[in-house]
Amino acid sequence: MTLVAAPRVLEPFVRRVAAIVGEDRLSQTAPARALYSRDMWPKTLLWTREGSFPHPPDLVVWPESLEEVAALVRLCASEGVALVPFGGGGGVCGGVIPLRGGVTLDLKRMNRLVSFDPESATAEFECGIIGQHLEDELARRGHTLGHFPSSIYLSTLGGFLAARSAGQLSTRYGKIEDMVVSLRLVTGTGETLDTASCPELLQALVGSEGTLGVFTHARLRIHPVPEARRMHAFSFTHLADGLEAIRTLLQRGVRPAVVRLYDPLDTFLVGSGKARKTSPRPLLALRGALEERFPSATPRLLRAALTCPAALNQLSDRFLHRALLILGFEGPRELVEAELALGRESCARLGGRDLGPGPGDRWFENRYKVSYKQSRIFAAGCFVDTMEVATTWDRLWGLYEAVRRALSDRALLMAHFSHAYPEGCSIYFTFAATARDPAERERLYDALWHDGLEATQRAGGCLSHHHGVGYSKSVFMAAELGEGMRLYQALKDVLDPGGILNPGKMGL
């Protein structure tokens, strides 16, 4: 049975692509086209489990230089062929799904360090470099970017910039948009642009998810490897006290590298640094606990548990109250010690019990493991996804409650608060559910996302803090940007007049 439809681009077009990159750097094989038809959006995992690849590209191409990218974009623009820039495929919003087929441009061969200037604390990289490789290059030179998303092994610099990504240490180092000094890109007409000569456009391009240009190079702010790092955990009687501790700490001017406050269910499943090893994600902890006790029955048990999410959520609300806060500090030793002392003081003032460095150190050791285990939950006939939203402190509790009200009757729901700022914070919801058959699971999945995001927008939260919009949240963009959508469309009109770049995304 053919799972991937036959490619639609014609042979003469393919020959012209081959003239640019050579025969060995393009592919029209079914496996390649299936691989590039999706990213890590959980809904595509549901599709894949059903053997469905509804949106394959017609052609996958691996360019190696800005000149090749520009030539390929010019060719696609002249032929009206859609083009999707592809990094590591680690996105979780379907941002790289080729909805109109066409060419998928895998940029991972553009992975070089172009320049390194320790005096000015900057480095320029090609955008196809994998996040961990970028950090390795800098570490060899005694530096760091400070960007550590959990997808760091399978996501690229270009992907970070495209989606306005955040790393786990963002409270100190900022999000990727705070780290970028300038970008080189190819617009939808094939013209190359360097924002060093027009810095006004930099923040209009970052976050455009491949709709305004193909990012090829980025100059980044870097930092010397920190002299010291201290992790520390606290346990609060009530979640609200933990939130208050974070707010007061940030507003005193302290900049922890790590801020993670788990709500009671999340705290319970993650473990408070006692017997269980701290897992970076609660559902995996649940599954791990079940595996330990009932090795052969786990999928069935997990499914059974998720058939009554409302009851589980109510039990959690009734019996679980404690909230775990992990703080991490890094930088010059003297500053780290001063910040940790202020952290302890702020937490103690709000009744936070000092748990020492243990839970934080264990979290740090395990911080990337989750990304490679999710398919086991899907294999059990369930699904799990995360929704990361943000707002200012005055609206934060209302946002947390609103999303819980919207989802807790149909999904097991928990959250942690991370990526904190003096004026607000992000909430990272994890929801898991199951249904009788694949079609019903997909309907439930869509309904949960719809209701969760609608509740978010009503409560004044933003649609996404760092995963981006992609395809999955595209329909919410008009409500998110309002009249601002006209400005985004104006940018598109100028930078991609043919509408070939990543069509069907971002509400455009």
Partner: protein, 283 residues
């Protein structure tokens, strides 16, 4: 004007005078960061258009402090950006509107970030050649501390660097300690000074030559600029903006010199095209 104490933000129409904005915030124990109000009539709108104040690493420049805004687009359409600390919802439209300086829309209201009125202020001062002071400033920033104020001035006869740290007393002490250590490791001798002891800054330079570049390039650029100065020129150069990776200095212009006209670039054309496209989209 509406101050939200919990999130430390203020919603202010652009007609608000900066002195009123500051007074209203201070009355609530809050502080909008350094504002450049050249006269009592300077408004928030004027400061946003002029991109006033670019020397504070701690507070960022004025545009960095704008959390959200309301702007009138062509066709009287009202754009209101979401007041979230950060978002991943496409281009940063707040910044895009500010950067366009009125070409895309006129700002009506801005939501600004606020800080606690600083509990402590500590000053470090050192003297040396312009190149040494530039290098010292870069070292301090690379160490990860965030001075509230960096005042660097100097010429052929040398100059002085003043670093001010503000905020929680424990953090001010730690940041000053780190900065002092970094500078001493570089063979420099910073001294803690009281506000009254600091060497005052020279008055504003009227005719100037701007010199901008990455920290690694700046000493050489500054040396070349000094060579071009009139031998009798005594007014020192001033640091006018700085970021983590680059800075701008202004040197007094030699007498009789005229600035070279700037050529229209492709970037200028693109910006004009975007403004036109927006007019069409708003029609």
């Amino acid at each position: 004007m509406k101050i939200e104490k919990r999130s430390r933000t203020v919603e202010a129409p652009v007609e608000t005078r900066l002195c009123e904005l500051r007074a209203a915030c201070v009355a609530q124990g809050l502080w909008p960061g350094p504002l450049v109000d050249l006269s009592p009539e300077t408004t928030l709108g004027a400061a946003l258009l002029a991109r006033a104040d670019r020397r504070s690493v701690r507070y960022g420049e004025l545009w960095d402090r704008v959390l959200a805004l309301e702007a009138e687009l062509p066709g009287e359409r009202l754009l209101r950006t979401r007041a979230a600390p950060r978002a991943a919802t496409g281009p940063d439209l707040t910044r895009t509107i500010l950067e366009a300086r009125g070409r895309l829309g006129s700002v009506r209201v801005a939501w600004l970030r606020l800080w606690a009125v600083p509990g402590e202020r500590g000053l470090l001062q050192l003297e040396g050649s312009l190149a040494v002071l530039i290098s010292g400033t870069a070292r301090v920033l690379r160490a990860g501390v965030r001075p509230a104020e960096v005042d660097l001035q100097g010429g052929r006869q040398g100059g002085r660097l003043l670093l001010a740290f503000e905020g929680d007393p424990a953090l001010v002490a730690a940041e000053m300690g780190v900065a002092r250590c970094v500078l001493e490791k570089a063979g420099l001798a910073p001294a803690a000074v009281a506000e009254a002891q600091k060497v005052p800054a020279v008055s504003a330079l009227l005719e100037t030559i701007p010199v901008e570049g990455a920290w690694s390039e700046l000493p050489a650029l500054a040396a070349r600029a000094l060579e071009r100065l009139d031998a009798t020129e005594t007014a020192p150069a001033r640091l006018v903006w700085l970021t983590h990776e680059a800075a701008g200095l202004k040197f007094p212009a030699p007498r009789g010199s005229t600035p070279e006209p700037r050529e229209r670039t492709r970037a200028d054309e693109i910006k004009a095209e975007i403004a036109l496209a927006l007019v069409r989209r708003c029609a």
